[in-house]
């Protein structure tokens, strides 16, 4: 059988391609194996301890008696394939020297190479990505389109851009690239705002914490300092860097809505909220309104036109008109209507928001009606991600939580510093249902969770979860929840658009169900995700039809049909397909 034969699609597979793909079906077969009698079901998400993973690195939060606020906000984490071997490696951000802390012993980030057997090896020193400032977050992207992922680390102090040398090492090109962003930066995202095929960079700036503005808050009920509420500090403007295509960037926010939007940015996702083919930005701010920066294209007199519309879109404030403490966020088409929906996590008693897209640049919050608001009422959310954890084709929701104030337990009886993870499953009714209690023992534990990244580190098609824990070891969770459901993994390679294909639209049909996904970038908090897209198809055994709508400048559409399930394939812009 020739895949695509007679289908009328433009990119049928040859018999050779089909055989090569079929030969990779082993992993998928294993996923479908029936459980033996007496075999205990694995938890949906199983904790992989350091002894098993080899990830011995621990985050140093530098918690001091003065309680300097940057101590409370990290760390971020990332899944990335830095050596291009097809297996997801792990990057973990650490704190470091700053104007309020001089480490007594060396503190460094960590890069762990995937050994392809469920274990990892620390290669940080060789890679040269240890860091130099009080690190916060990480954004991974192939900004020079050389096929190798580069790493941007945000921090309190200065950002660092590590360019991939293709030999397991990285070079600090921050100064040369012109992205030595000062101040206190948090989440960042790579995306191509002007559709020129080069990744640009947006960097969230948090509050003005410079010099004497490091307040001491405290002498409270328990007579100690605690972390100040960000409301006390002055807001700042975030940064937009245009990629010049020669390894350098130009900061281009001046005169735009981005520079005018003074915020306290913690989370950012690049998405297309109005389906106009231009990537927009949704920014979660702490104690001030969120920003929805809509990309309106080239400005008449040069430069770029951004419009900040969060208030009128209904995503800037709570439904009662109050700014909240936005931290983690994400975007995805959760209800399958072809439009990007949004999510924002806030602190306790503010409740999180599930914003459905009204298709007219406005949104409505349905968190209360689908139970998310109730489940999150007492929680503070940071890292979170919309993804299809069980490969049934519908987008689900994973959230990592933790109160920012380590002393909260001393003066609150029901809000805690360490908080549980939450898992929501999207049912056939299109509602998100809280399935936390069924998801495994790790969901009974509590963490000071911050960053969260998703990625398939064992290449079984089920997206695993990595969580950065403030002052603790990271949490690696292996996903067993997708067993029994089929999938197809895509690694997209842009040729005219960015190599990472950010902004590509993916349409697939399997088992009579047509689905859609936009390849957003960013999302969660301080973290970066597996760049591959895993398409869940449930009980269907193959993808009947697949379309890739590549973003501008080409806007090319590549079509495929009858793709076998349960494997990763590589698709290059123009239609070249390979295992």
């Amino acid at each position: 059988m020739l895949v695509g034969a007679g289908s009328g699609y433009g990119m049928p597979l040859t018999r050779r391609q089909w055989l090569r793909l079929a030969s990779c079906a082993g992993v998928g077969y294993l996923l479908k194996r029936p459980r033996a009698a007496g075999e205990e079901a694995a938890p949906w998400f199983a904790e992989v301890p350091p002894a098993k993973s080899g990830i011995e690195w621990v985050h140093e939060n530098a918690m001091s008696p003065s309680r300097f606020l940057p101590e409370a906000l990290g760390p971020g984490c990332a899944f990335l394939d830095f050596d291009n071997d097809g297996w997801m490696d792990i990057f973990l951000v650490n704190s470091g020297p700053s104007d309020f802390w001089k480490p007594a012993r060396p503190v460094r980030n960590a890069l762990y190479k995937n050994n392809r057997d469920g274990t990892f090896t620390d290669v940080t020193e060789k890679a040269g990505v240890s860091g130099a400032y009080f690190g916060m977050g990480v954004a991974v992207g192939d900004y020079d389109n050389d096929g190798w992922p580069d790493i941007l680390v945000t921090s309190y102090g200065q950002c660092i851009l590590y360019k991939n040398n293709h030999d397991g090492s990285f070079a600090d090109v921050t100064a040369r690239a012109g992205v030595a962003t000062p101040g206190w930066t948090t989440s960042a995202v790579w995306f191509d705002y002007d559709n020129d095929g080069l990744l640009d960079l947006f960097v969230c700036s948090f509050v003005d914490y410079s010099g004497v503005r490091k307040l001491a808050c405290g002498n409270n009920q328990i007579g100690k300092n605690y972390y100040c509420v960000p409301r006390l500090f002055r807001p700042t403007a975030s940064f937009l860097y245009h990629n010049n295509g020669d390894g350098t960037f130009t900061e281009v926010s001046k005169g735009t809505a981005i520079a005018r939007a003074l915020g306290k940015g913690l989370g950012v996702v690049a998405t297309d909220i109005n389906n106009d083919g231009r990537m927009d930005l949704f920014v979660a701010n702490d104690t001030v309104q969120n920003f929805l920066l809509v990309n309106r294209g080239p400005a008449p007199k040069g430069g770029w036109n951004w419009e900040e519309i969060a208030l009128q879109a209904g995503v800037g404030y709570s439904e009662t008109g109050r700014p909240r403490s936005g931290m983690g966020l994400d975007a995805a088409d959760i209800n399958g209507d072809g439009w990007q929906d949004l999510f924002v996590a806030n602190v306790d008693h503010e409740m999180f928001s599930v914003y459905l897209n009204n298709k007219d640049e406005t949104f409505r919050d349905v968190a209360a009606s689908d139970g998310v608001a109730r489940a999150t009422r007492l929680l503070s959310g940071w890292g979170m991600k919309y993804f299809d954890y069980d490969n049934d084709g519908a987008i689900d929701l994973f959230m990592a939580n933790g109160h920012p104030d380590d002393m909260i337990d001393l003066y609150s009886m029901q809000v805690h510093y360490r908080e549980p993870l939450l898992l929501f499953h999207q049912g056939a009714d299109r509602q998100l249902h809280d399935v936390t209690s069924q998801a495994g023992p790790v969901f009974s534990k509590s963490f000071a969770a911050r960053g969260l990244a998703v990625g398939d580190y064992d290449n079984d098609g089920a997206l695993d979860v990595l969580i950065g824990v403030n002052g603790g070891a990271p949490l690696l969770l292996r996903n067993n929840a997708a067993r029994g459901n089929n999938w197809l993994g895509l690694k997209l390679e842009g040729k005219h658009c960015t190599r990472d294909a950010v902004g590509a639209k993916i349409y697939w049909t399997a088992g009579g169900q047509k689905r859609f996904r936009l390849k957003n970038n960013g999302g969660s908090y301080l973290s970066s995700h597996d760049p591959r897209e895993v398409l869940g198809i449930g009980a269907a055994t193959k993808i009947d039809e697949l379309e890739i709508h590549w973003p501008a400048p080409s806007r090319q559409v590549d079509k495929f049909s009858n793709l076998p399930a349960n494997r990763y394939i590589h698709i290059a812009e123009g239609g070249a397909l390979s295992p």
């Binding site: 307040l215 404030y317 009422r377």
Partner: protein, 374 residues
Amino acid sequence: MRRPLLPILTLSALLLPGASAQPQTPQELVQDALQKQQAGDLQGAVKEYRQFLKIHPEATAIHSNLGAALAGLGLYGQAIPEYKIALQQSPALPGARLNLALAYYKMGHIADAALELERVHRQAPANLQAALLLGDCYLRMGRNKEVIRVLAPEEKRHPEDLAIAYMLGTAYIRDKQVDSGQLLVDRILRNGDSAEAHLMLGSAKLNVADYAGARDEFAKAVALNPRLPDVHVLYARALLLTGDSDQATKEFKAELASDPYNFESNLQLGAMLRQQQSYDEAEPYFKHALETRPGDPGVRYQLALLALETGKLQQARQILEALVKQSPQFTEAHVSLSLVYYRLKRPADGKREHEIVEQLTAAAQSRQPGVKQQ
């Protein structure tokens, strides 16, 4: 604190001949209204009192009766003018001033209630109900010394009354007369596992943000005496703060079962239902809340949000425009008004309101210590 309305005034009944089946004369009209009021047909009584007052507006007692019937319907805002007319005409009219104070109290106008209750208390120092209400008003107003002045004599006369002990003990403690307060608190606690004791402990825990502890105390109080004034509301408040909105809903409804016009219960239930997008169910609660406290900005804002979320943009606009005119610093109302203007395709107005929001936000930010330190 829930107290029953005073018995309906029957002064006019003494002046009137026997009733007939169909009221024909003004006298028959008012007698029929009285019978309806006593039988619980308050709507019917209100209608007939009003008919009568068109003919005899000078009938002092009937204004007071009408006020009592309106208050029985929870229409405190309409009851108050009737009581006032009655009191203007007959300042010593028995019960009318206490009823007026009760109406203010129910509407949350505690200072006005205290003013009227102070007059009642001076005229009738033996009136225990007036003294208790007055003590409660002062307690809510934080005037602890006044609570002590009013309730200390009552406590001597009624040492077994746990409500007096609760309020007076709380006032003593807040007034830093801890020893005196402790004596009364101990009396409540010694009295066994009383609802009052748990209510008191729960309130204390609520005040120090121990919401879970407060919730548990209020649960015990509800179990011991579900008719204790405000016990369901306090329990519901603690439940909301500890994340149990389902049980909070039940408790607010329990409060409304005995006090259909309880302001907080109506407002909270309406807001919760609106959040859940149960708009038709939410609206009656807001209307009840607004009847209890006409013009309350919080309720009007909720009604504006309800209108906004149900697509009644002009209605939302009207409410919000009035709110921001009345309260220019009401930032949330400016936010929502901006949103409404944008939805009405009036971007210039939306932008103007957004700019006001930004100015208010910037002003608030400029007062923060991290900004002041340069």
